[in-house]
């Protein structure tokens, strides 16, 4: 880094403006997170005295303990979300990768079929028809419906298709000359070649399922089937009463804001853990799509 500066002799105004702006932006993102961490590790008295502090004034884990103790709900929500994420990601990726490969090749009727797929990206019947449809299928209030509604992303199919198209044709042609059929080329040539792309989009899919809340909110009523995101919504809506109850019951030092923030971190924990290591794959995946556009 020093060398680049030397090469440039002096920092230009552009460098300074960029550094200052980017640092301010970064702090604006980090500080609210940090503030939330601090609150989740504080007692109510410390929070009331000073809602914003750089360090937990009276350090306590009681907010987290409260979450773990008081909730079978949290555990079942974690279970539900993990189940939905795993099944949804695997199932969705199989469908999407197969389709993406097929659309990267030439075949009769490709154009109309592609259009049929593309239209669904921009047009849907809307919420009420979908709700009625699920009701008719008798799959309201099921994880099956939650998974199915979030299974396929047409946008990601198109980006993966672009990725498949960018692989050199010679390899496929060589396999064809050897007499391999399309399925074999797909399985033995393309899949191994495109492993990084597929891994990346699996990550996208997994995060999508993890964060999915709209349709789950509309169709899940049974508290035992609630997902993590719904659980968080529920905590945010009810944490005030919960905290009061817990205070009057055991005099515990938990409080609404503390519990809210603690549950935020419980919900995003897996994402926080994997994100720093997987960040570059996400960016790469995004770039695959961007290059063609």
């Amino acid at each position: 880094m020093k060398q680049t500066f030397k090469k440039r002799k002096k920092r230009s105004l552009v460098d300074i403006v960029c550094t200052v702006c980017l640092t301010i932006f970064a702090l604006l993102i980090i500080i609210p997170f940090w503030n939330a961490v601090v609150i989740s590790l504080e007692t109510e008295t410390a929070y009331v005295r000073s809602p914003f502090s750089w360090w937990p004034v009276e350090f306590t884990l009681s907010n987290y303990e409260h979450l773990v103790e008081s909730s079978k709900l949290l555990l079942s929500a974690y279970g539900a979300t993990i189940k939905i994420t795993v099944i949804g990601t695997l199932g969705g990726m199989v469908i999407m990768v197969m389709a993406a490969y097929a659309f990267s090749r030439q075949f009769a009727g490709k154009k109309p079929l592609f259009m049929i797929m593309l239209v669904t990206m921009f047009f849907s019947g809307g919420m009420v028809p979908m709700y009625m449809h699920l009701k008719n299928l008798k799959i309201l209030d099921t994880h099956f419906a939650v998974i199915m509604l979030h299974l396929v992303s047409v946008y990601n199919i198109i980006i993966m298709k672009n990725g498949f198209e960018s692989t050199p044709l010679d390899l496929q042609e060589a396999a064809m000359i050897d007499g391999a059929n399309d399925l074999k080329i797909f399985a033995t040539v393309m899949l191994p070649l495109q492993k990084p792309l597929i891994a990346t989009f699996s990550l996208f899919a997994a995060v999508g399922h993890w964060n999915n809340w709209y349709w789950p909110m509309l169709i899940i009523n049974d508290m035992n089937k609630v997902t993590l995101q719904l659980y968080l919504r529920y905590i945010i809506a009810s944490s005030i009463t919960t905290a009061r109850e817990s205070l009057s019951m055991d005099g515990d030092a938990t409080f609404a804001m503390g519990i809210q923030m603690a549950s935020v971190f419980v919900v995003i924990l897996p994402i926080m853990l994997v994100y720093p290591f997987l960040q570059k794959y996400f960016v790469k995946g995004m770039m695959v799509g961007a290059v063609k556009m």
């Binding site: 880094m1 993102i29 999407m96």
Partner: protein, 306 residues
């Protein structure tokens, strides 16, 4: 004629494995996209649960006419456009600006650290982001503590009709600007580096290089992204608004999607009317996308999909 037909059959036979690979996708599209579209008929009916969808009475375009005489619906339409254009104005350029700033930074490690920070919120749901930011913007949150410490008057950011929309744009930028910058950064890396060297020899300043090489090098990307956004005007950000709104700001925050949610799940539902509002939105959305796509194709010769 016969030859042509058998030629087509041969083509189909040749592609048999590819069709097989597409089969699961089209089954899914059928069951979870196209069949539900049948429910659109609800929009043309006076739906009575006891009579079912098909038994209910046809009312033609009555439900659609009702949209235009329902003040709440009209307000929601107006808000949808206002919020979306606000986003185009305030949010759209930020991704581009951020991308240029990051690429102008010296040193790949610094770039990576900044990107790691900027991209992170994209991977959280609006439920999470709203919880964190609502706290931070609240009366006793970080911003107001700072204002108070500097001797200013506390501002109730989230319960102020005039401030709520700007807050929407800012918090949306907070979550997404890093992510939207990636596409432009990818486009910038695609620019021929010799252009910059040549410009340096000609004595161009860095600002001129940013303007003439970087920006002009990514203009087709910008056009495409702009089209995507314009086509998306009818989607003014349900996830964000649904999680951040409150009763005080409902008047400026209520967009079509939240309106449909409200009339469907709160109070006495009228499924026919709800569907009509949803369909009204979908159709305009679809037309806007088609028009926008055509425009970009006509302008740049770049086709977005396919």
């Amino acid at each position: 004629m016969k030859n042509k037909k058998s030629g087509l059959l041969l083509e189909i036979w040749k592609g048999r494995y590819l069709y097989l690979l597409l089969l699961p996708l089209f089954l899914w599209l059928c069951v979870f996209c196209y069949i539900p579209m049948g429910g659109i008929v609800l929009a043309f009916k006076n739906y009575k649960a006891s009579l079912g969808i098909w038994g209910s009475e046809w009312v033609g375009f009555e439900n659609f006419k009702r949209i235009f005489i329902t003040p709440d619906a009209m307000a929601a339409i107006k808000n949808t456009f206002t919020v979306s254009f606000g986003r185009l104005l305030v949010e759209f350029p930020m991704g581009i600006i951020l991308a240029i700033m990051i690429t102008e930074m010296p040193g790949t490690r610094v770039k990576k650290i900044y990107q790691t920070v900027f991209n992170f919120p994209h991977f959280l749901s609006w439920i999470v982001v709203s919880a964190i930011l609502t706290n931070f913007l609240s009366n006793r949150g970080g911003i107001n503590e700072l204002i108070a410490a500097l001797g200013g008057e506390r501002i109730n950011f989230l319960a102020d009709k005039g401030l709520f929309r700007p807050i929407l744009y800012l918090t949306s930028n907070w979550k997404e600007m890093g992510w939207s910058a990636i596409i432009y950064m990818a486009a910038i890396t695609g620019i021929d580096p010799t252009l910059y060297d040549a410009a340096s020899i000609d004595g161009a300043t860095r600002l001129r290089k940013i303007w003439h090489i970087t920006l002009s090098g990514i203009k087709s990307t910008i056009a495409v992204m702009f089209i995507l956004e314009v086509g998306n005007v009818m989607n003014a950000g349900f996830d964000q608004i649904f999680n951040m709104q409150n009763d005080v700001v409902k008047g400026v925050a209520q967009i079509l999607d939240t309106y449909v949610y409200d009339i469907t799940f709160q109070g006495i539902p009228n499924y026919g009317f709800s569907t009509a509002v949803g369909l009204f939105k979908s159709v305009i959305n679809f037309i806007l996308i088609l028009v926008a796509n055509r425009t970009v194709y006509w302008l740049t010769g770049e086709k977005m999909y396919g």
